[in-house]
């Protein structure tokens, strides 16, 4: 289980760097230095003001060692006096986010009920989490045994999902976390804070139902550095426990339901629910168990993955690609890649009879297509540069889906780069799939000559080792009641070598088998042509990767 012990060399390096002999603690000396605290402790005082004043004094004694800190402390005292005058209470001014955390951790259970119907309980000691969603779904997540119970009101069963440990000791998909992290700590602490997604927590004075309260505000930092209020937590200055939370909903939900915030009220009971039935799941339903097993990858698959990864990494990273559909009208895409910077333009080549000004006869040369695009408005433009993703949606004269020119700006750390931004990633889809569960199969009748067939629960990948391990055919599938159903199939053909010797397909064909993806008439087979032209660093058009240029004249939404 203790896999970390296997990496002895790294262990040794870390130990040499931070290791230190166990520090010794002299309690008698400590008592001499902390007589005031001991006095308070012994008198069993409940006068928190006294204890707090001593505590403040102690901190002061610790920090008041340099002139700079003395000056800073004087400023703090002045501010504190102003705050006291403003509120008439020392208690409020002294409540910090850390105090709230301390008070929270000392409780048994936390219960939060929101004004949209959501409700949750969490056992602060054991991490057992009970949840009723606003749509009536019930969850019981037992983090001590890595078991989750799900119940949907439309379902006739309760699903019990158990997670197996990975060989290295990881326990996905839900890692045990302490109640603080689940209920409040996600707000601007830990990794999200380190990633710069949230501002520091701001303290303000406020009232709840006429009583003084300390309010903690946290702002989400958008992709363009803008600040949006994410949550406000109000805490009781006496108990220091949270009493109310006001959270801003995500943009999609705000727009769909016209609601900006939800408000939750906290209480800290001594007991809580014990099972999913206590949340209102019908007791007569059967529990269906599922164990989430962990696949292990074979050495042969590992070899192919490594070869595919190497080929993908070595594929030229400076190019212009044009992808156009082979029929009279369809889409035309122009993509640029300069190492990690990406730019993608999507045009419509419309019916020449109806929209002659938005039409180019196919077949056409790449030079003719490029010349045509200079007079066309792209329906969509995407740029990825320096960790930021920009997606612009133009209002096209003959395409009424986009009512307003809009740009979405995302961080790549929180939003995946859309697949269509980068052409070459598509050549090795198995490498980007859930490749831990890939297996080599030998029986598939559609395996093209010379190819190795890989599969997982979502797809078959037919990999050609002679074409840089590109998946020349990919069949996406799904399982319905144990039956395998094809969703779509992508075939790459007419391979040609770039001047660098790397292969790429000049034809791509996508065939859709099942309309569940579209909920309307199936689109026809979509044969596409691909042309890749290698470029030097100075050959890209000006501002190709300047995402801020896309913001001009558009409504901007940052995430």
């Amino acid at each position: 289980m203790n896999a970390d012990r296997n990496n002895k060399k790294l262990d040794e390096l870390i130990f040499k760097t931070v290791g230190r002999e166990k520090p010794t603690f002299d309690f008698d000396k400590w008592k001499q230095a902390h007589k005031e605290e001991i006095q308070i402790y012994k008198s069993q005082t409940s006068d928190e003001k006294t204890s707090r004043s001593v505590r403040i004094f102690k901190i002061g004694r610790t920090i008041m060692k340099s002139p700079i800190t003395k000056t800073a402390a004087a400023a703090v005292i002045i501010i504190a006096v102003i705050m006291i005058l403003h509120n008439g209470s020392v208690d409020i001014a002294s409540v910090t986010w850390g105090d709230v955390q301390e008070a929270f951790l000392a409780q048994s259970w936390v219960h939060v009920i929101y004004d949209n119907g959501r409700e949750e309980w969490m056992n602060i000691q054991e991490g057992k989490h009970f949840y009723i969603s606003e749509f009536g779904w019930r969850f019981f997540d037992d983090r001590t045994s890595h078991t989750r119970f799900d119940y949907s009101p439309k379902s006739n069963k309760i699903l019990e999902v158990k997670s197996k440990s990975y060989p290295e000791g990881e326990v996905p998909p839900w890692e045990p976390r302490i109640a603080w992290e689940v209920i409040l700590g996600f707000l601007g602490e830990g990794e999200s804070r380190a990633m710069g997604l949230y501002t520091d927590i701001e303290r303000h004075f406020d009232t709840v139902d006429g009583r003084n309260a300390m309010r903690f505000d946290i702002y989400y930092v958008g992709a363009l550095g803008n600040r949006d209020l994410a949550s406000q937590i109000l805490a009781d200055p006496e108990t220091r426990l949270p009493i109310r939370i006001r959270s801003r909903l995500t943009l999609g939900i705000r727009e769909r339901y016209g609601v900006e915030y939800i408000t939750g009220e906290y209480d800290f009971p001594d007991t809580g629910p014990e099972s999913i039935f206590d949340l209102g799941a019908p007791s007569n339903l059967k529990i269906v168990s599922r164990v989430e097993s962990v696949d292990t990858i074979s050495a042969e698959v590992q070899q192919i993955l490594q070869a595919g990864e190497k080929a993908a990494q070595e594929f030229p990273k400076r190019y212009r690609a044009i992808v156009w559909q082979g029929q009279e009208h369809g889409t035309i895409q122009v993509k640029y890649r300069n190492k990690d910077s990406l730019h993608s333009l999507n045009y419509f080549n419309l019916d020449g009879q109806k929209y002659p000004d938005c039409h180019i006869d196919i077949p056409a040369t790449t030079a003719a297509i490029l010349a045509w695009t200079t007079n066309q408005m792209p329906v969509g433009v995407g740029v990825y540069n320096d960790g930021i993703i920009y997606r612009r949606y133009n209002v096209h004269p003959y395409h009424d889906v986009n009512k307003q020119t809009k740009v979405e700006v995302h961080r790549a750390s929180t939003y995946p780069i859309p697949g269509f931004f980068c052409l070459d990633d598509d050549f090795w889809p198995y490498f980007y799939s859930k490749n831990k569960s890939l297996k080599i199969i030998t029986y598939h009748s559609e395996t093209p000559p010379g190819c190795v067939a890989l599969s997982n629960r979502n797809a078959y990948y037919f990999v050609d080792p002679l074409k840089d391990y590109i998946s020349v055919k990919t069949i996406y599938i799904r399982n319905v009641d144990g039956q395998e159903i094809k969703n779509s199939e992508t075939s790459l053909s007419n391979f040609i070598q770039l001047p660098t010797g790397h292969w790429y397909p000049q034809k791509r064909s996508i065939h859709f088998y099942d309309n569940h993806l579209f909920r309307r008439e199936l689109p026809p087979e979509l044969p596409e042509n691909i042309d890749i032209q290698l470029l030097q660093e100075d050959e890209f058009p000006i501002d190709t990767f300047n995402g801020e240029k896309l913001l001009e004249g558009a409504k901007i939404e940052t995430y």
Partner: protein
């Protein structure tokens, strides 16, 4: 979960037995120093922070509603004391200190290993320091953080994987990892 002797000590301290509180301090001094060190990056300040945490804990002990959570509660106090020290600029805590510490350390690998630790998320950094600062066992760490040993192992494995990745990316020879 704490053992029975700890539960008894907490209960006794709760009821006014200062020596029991002293025994708890002895037990958790090392872990608290490690926790504070992960924030302040200075051995002396870390010890100051641990001792100040005990003082805060002593005056707030009666607020501890669940006595089985003494160690995680103490750890939360210690983190806050250490953060306060950084916030009040007792001393500029930055990678400069790590560099200084690295200069004091004669091991040639120390600077890059310190940087690899420094780039970890806060909770992972704390865990690595807890494990290696004075060689705490999984059981001890579990008791301090209030999470299972399996979770500790998983988090530690991931933290070390991140460190190894960082080291490789920064040219650290693979055969020395």
């Amino acid at each position: 979960m704490p053992d029975k002797s700890e539960t008894r000590l907490v209960e006794a301290a709760f009821n006014g037995d200062i020596d029991s509180f002293g025994k708890l301090c002895q037990r958790y001094y090392g872990p608290m120093v490690a926790i504070a060190y992960s924030v302040v990056s200075d051995h002396q300040l870390a010890e100051d922070a641990a001792q100040e945490s005990f003082a805060r804990a002593l005056v707030s002990l009666r607020k501890l509603k669940n006595q089985t959570r003494f160690a995680p509660w103490l750890a939360a106090i210690c983190r806050n004391v250490a953060k306060d020290m950084v916030a009040t600029k007792v001393r500029q805590i930055s990678t400069k200190d790590f560099s200084q510490a690295a200069r004091n350390n004669t091991d040639e690998n120390a600077p890059v290993i310190r940087r690899a630790i420094e780039q970890l998320p806060v909770s992972a950094k704390e865990l690595v320091v807890l494990r290696y600062y004075n060689g705490l066992s999984y059981e001890q760490i579990s008791s301090v953080l209030g999470i299972s040993q399996a979770a500790i192992n998983g988090r530690l494995t991931r933290a070390k994987r991140k460190m190894a990745k960082y080291l490789k990316h920064n040219g650290f020879p693979e055969n020395r990892l």
